[in-house]
Symmetry: C2
Subunit: 295 residues, 2 copies
Amino acid sequence: MPDAPFRRLALIGIGLIGSSLARAAKEKGGIADEVVATARSAATRDTVRRLGIVDRVEDTAAAAVAGADCVMLCAPVGAFADIAAAIAPHLARDAVLTDVGSTKGSVIRDVGPYVPDHAHFVPGHPIAGTEHSGPEAGFATLFEGRYAILTPPPGTDEAAVAKVATLWRNAGSMVEIMEPQHHDKVFAIVSHLPHLIAFTICGTADDLEEESRQAVLRFAASGFRDFTRIAASDPEMWRDVFLNNREALLEMAQRFTEDMTAMARAVRWGDASYIEDKIARGRRIRRRLIELRQA
Amino acid sequence: MPDAPFRRLALIGIGLIGSSLARAAKEKGGIADEVVATARSAATRDTVRRLGIVDRVEDTAAAAVAGADCVMLCAPVGAFADIAAAIAPHLARDAVLTDVGSTKGSVIRDVGPYVPDHAHFVPGHPIAGTEHSGPEAGFATLFEGRYAILTPPPGTDEAAVAKVATLWRNAGSMVEIMEPQHHDKVFAIVSHLPHLIAFTICGTADDLEEESRQAVLRFAASGFRDFTRIAASDPEMWRDVFLNNREALLEMAQRFTEDMTAMARAVRWGDASYIEDKIARGRRIRRRLIELRQA
Ligand SMILES: NC(=O)c1ccc[n+]([C@@H]2O[C@H](COP(=O)([O-])OP(=O)(O)OC[C@H]3O[C@@H](n4cnc5c(N)ncnc54)[C@H](OP(=O)(O)O)[C@@H]3O)[C@@H](O)[C@H]2O)c1
Ligand SMILES: NC(=O)c1ccc[n+]([C@@H]2O[C@H](COP(=O)([O-])OP(=O)(O)OC[C@H]3O[C@@H](n4cnc5c(N)ncnc54)[C@H](OP(=O)(O)O)[C@@H]3O)[C@@H](O)[C@H]2O)c1
């Protein structure tokens, strides 16, 4: 097992992402010598104890962070401000505070002000996940071959950034440094807007009268099904993502809606070449993804 | 091998769908004793000859239909009117004319008027496909466990309908009879609108400035990728589908755009419970698909 960059890692929230990292720490090593966790509900804390995937489960975030040299927020991003307020007084000297939240501007806004001078704040986002949630859904290989993005504010201690990068590399990820604004814009289009669309079209289908709704379920394989897979994700997590990447998401949703309107207009007026051009662009992007082995 | 309902099947157009049926006829049987095919281009006709998946390749549709007791249109639906005009004078007595087009109202509109009194018209749509096209993309098992929908106009010869149904059952499909209008509405939401959205969002991403576009390709796994898969399909086929299910597609696109606007508004104004409700509906639909084993 590779040397771990941290002695004790505290996971605040331990669902799909947190439990996958805990499992990686045990099975692959190179993450932290000891892993402590807490979750909001007693039920989840009991599940985690039963699963035996961490060394210790604490009832409060304050207790979990005591003595930890790395604290990782693994709850929905909407909970980060309250969690930061609760843990700030208990952070050890030179502790590294990081997170796995899907939005980065909001995390810097919500958590940054609470970080004491004696700690280091390294926001992060592992680009890995499934449509399942909770600690039983996690697995040790989730981060293998996937990107992990870090968005450290200017002036962040370089040693702290390097340690968080080592943690993710040892979990199997490729680490990238990005500006938080660029991160939020890119993920608005590659992830947040597709999820918003998927949830929306499920609602559109659900509003049809009964007979059509039955047929939708029956013939879903024709394309709709691919949208429902990504619409199966956790409501609380996605609500928080949408509300915490509001500006970039609304900007992309606006562009998309304009493009949908133009496409519908081309269908209405029989503008075949406009439609063909859009379809051809879709294929081109698909081909590039295949070339880049991201398909 | 089961008894075949037809002696000679003529495929007009032989890409993904036509070549899959030709392969099923050879490998599974129960389709037709002999399969003849034609395609628009000499290149495709040569490919089909080389593949050896049909008994005979003809250079014209008129030659292909001569002596066939079943003629199946397997070209993009926009070509159907011209094809129908070209083959009508050559259709044998009691020949069954069917098709695999993804739209049904337009096929009845475009083909119906050309069908001579001595032939039988049984419009059809196998609910099977991949994002690949052309005769090399086909495979004999494509239709197994999938639905095949027939939309015979009132008064269609029942023996003709039964024979087409037998053909699809022997290819491995479950046969359903539907009203063409209901078919077009259901497929507008389960298939045509998802494809329209997928093509559109690829265009939206492709319009971003260079730096973001690179990042989109890199981080596509986060959701965008699922949309590009369905956007990889044949431009000509989809252009024709959109233009030939115009009314139902525009109606569904309009409902969807309204729902997107409402969702964007909820994001803008922080209406958490509206967003959660929509997400929960998406999950519910996903769960029902899993129960119905359609996920
Ligand atoms: N899933 C993905 O695809 C993905 C990918 C990359 C990043 N992320 C990010 O990773 C984070 C976690 O996502 P996940 O998929 O692991 O979610 P999850 O499976 O739903 O788990 C969330 C965890 O956070 C806990 N939690 C919720 N509110 C809390 C609070 N106020 N205080 C302490 N703990 C709290 C939950 O405890 P209870 O069970 O007791 O509620 C649970 O342990 C989110 O910020 C998300 O944006 C997710
Ligand atoms: N792909 C799917 O997912 C799917 C599913 C269900 C139904 N369908 C329907 O099935 C039909 C065929 O789709 P496909 O995926 O098999 O398409 P494809 O792979 O692109 O093949 C189309 C075939 O039609 C031929 N063709 C085109 N224009 C023609 C014309 N004017 N006269 C004669 N032949 C012509 C093409 O010949 P060239 O190669 O020479 O151009 C080719 O052989 C379409 O109506 C589509 O709506 C498709």
